[in-house]
Amino acid sequence: MRISLAAEKKAWTLPEWLRYVLIGASFIAAWQLYVSFGGVSQLLVASPASTLQALFTDTTNGQLPGAILVSLQNLAIGMLIGISIGLLLASFSTFSRFGRYLLTALTAVFSPLPGIAILPLTILWFGLSSSAIIFVVVFGAIWPISASTDTGFRTIGTTTRMVALNLGLSRWQTVRDVFLPAALPHILSGLRLAWAFGWRTVVGAEIVFGVAGSNGGLGWYINNARYFLNPPAIFAGLVVISLLGVLLDTFFQFIEQKTVVKWGMKQAQ
């Protein structure tokens, strides 16, 4: 009787990173094929090669780095303010009945509004300055953060609360040392979401905003490329926007790894 060795020899499967690389490479190949042979004008769809070229050109001449800095700055300032307000609102909601009604009402009315929708309003209020963009980012960030923080606070177990009481902690100590870490899985989810929204909002607002001549961020960069009929630059801008979005999300994944996953409070994703 012959024993088959096939059962023992494990089939070699593609390592995961290689899978992603192959998918990405075939996508780029298909893209290049389409542009080369699909009969589409290069003024409508840029090829991967010319996109790469535009990336290189505009990075070395400083346009892209400048635009990236402006967008990230708008995002960072907006997020900082939005996170603070969101946390404050959530704390208010947790500790006061009126605060809870307030948060519920405000969230119901405002959270469905996309940030870009209020841009015309903010331009009226703040003028054609980056404050208008920052306000829009703030607006977009408050709701996911306050909602998730509030949920985080509410789902803190009674035992945890009792331990805090048992230790005789003051209100402030309780919030800082117990509630915030206990609610961290929810807060981090909210933060991750808010940053994702914020990034999309910043770029969108910059496009709508259209500061013509000066360095106005990645949204402006793309818009400017449009005016000067530079699709490779448009594509390059899109690539950068996407990459930065991925980087931001990865950053949050990293934070989650170092905190809530390490503490066993959340499944790793």
Partner: protein, 330 residues
């Protein structure tokens, strides 16, 4: 390749082939020598007079019953360019710079004829701003697009008066004429460089003129009416008829200011929301010159190449012209 991946590869190639089949050729109508549809793309303002009348009198519709004549209003020269690039329009009306940018990047459009030349004013309501030197980093100037004629003129003025073509680049804000007028009124913009009827209204509301565009490049740079060379080659008789119609309607406008003004008021989208009386005043103004001969192309191209906005300048103005006006202009 493993068996599992065959369907995927097959689908992918189907996709590529299908999408590539969406070609760019204009299809012909049942009448030989005429296209199935013809779309004219123009911008709002006083310069829309000829198109409004052409539209209302249905001249083209009568001449070419088997061609669907369409009209589109967009907000900037770049938008006109995009419409033609994506085959959503054939005839476009726009300023010199967006045309030159398109030509520089390889679009095959050429000038069918020039339209009109008028003077644009840099208007401000702020008494502090009397010359370009007075503009600080926070004084925003509204132009319809960063590559619009006004924006290029501004850069030439910056070069002449401030020594650096890009000196005011950080001040520029791309904003449509109507929105820009609002923004100027509310103080969001320090100044705007647009066109009629917007600038006249701004003056009436208390603004003052900082510079006139005709002072920068001279009395050149009439707006262009352009058509892709490939379209002209495919439908030469049709194109020549359109050319003649435009000449005729321009004569009409020159001789019938009141009627033209009336048309512009009624067609709010094309007119920009002005009153017939306002339009008549503008049409009466000797500053508004109708000229079918393109002018300023070489001057603008040379300047734009010098500041890096385009990569090449035409050898002669004929390179940019269709047979209708070739051999003329500058």
């Amino acid at each position: 390749m493993s068996k599992r991946y065959w369907p995927l590869a097959f689908l992918l190639s189907l996709l590529v082939l299908f999408v590539s089949a969406c070609g760019n050729a204009t299809s012909a109508s049942s009448t030989p020598g005429t296209p199935a549809s013809f779309t004219i793309v123009y911008q709002p303002g006083i310069g829309a007079a000829t198109f409004v009348i052409l539209k209302n009198q249905k001249t083209l519709d009568k001449q070419f019953p088997n061609t669907k004549i369409q009209w589109r209003i967009v907000n900037s020269g770049s938008a006109v360019r995009e419409a033609i690039l994506s085959n959503q329009g054939q005839l476009g009306s726009l300023g010199l710079p967006p045309f030159l940018v398109g030509w520089d990047k390889g679009m095959d459009w050429k000038v069918l004829l020039a339209s009109s030349l008028s003077d644009s004013w840099l208007v401000s309501k702020n008494p502090r701003l009397k010359t370009l030197k007075d503009f600080g980093p926070n004084d925003k100037i509204g132009v319809v697009a960063p590559d619009a004629q006004q924006a290029i003129v501004l850069r030439k003025a910056a070069q002449d008066q401030l020594g650096d073509a890009h000196a005011l680049d950080h001040n520029l804000v791309a904003i449509g004429s109507a929105d820009g007028e609002q923004a100027l009124q509310s103080g969001q913009l320090a100044a705007q460089l647009s066109g009629s009827p917007f600038q006249e209204r701004e003056i009436a509301a208390g603004g003052h003129v900082i510079l006139h565009t005709r002072d920068i490049f001279g009395p050149v740079g009439a707006g262009l009416i352009v058509l892709p060379q490939s379209f002209y080659n495919q439908y030469p008789a049709f194109s020549k008829t359109v050319y003649q119609d435009l000449l005729d309607v321009t004569s009409y406008v020159k001789g019938h200011h009141a009627e033209a003004a009336q048309y512009l008021e009624q067609d709010k989208a094309s007119g920009g929301g002005g009153k017939a009386a306002q339009f008549k005043t503008l049409l009466d103004n000797p500053n508004l010159v109708y000229d079918k001969t393109p002018s300023g192309l070489i001057a603008y191209a040379t300047f734009m190449k010098s500041i890096g906005l385009i990569s090449k300048a035409p050898g002669s103005v004929n390179d940019l012209e269709l047979p209708t006006v070739v051999g003329t202009g500058s």
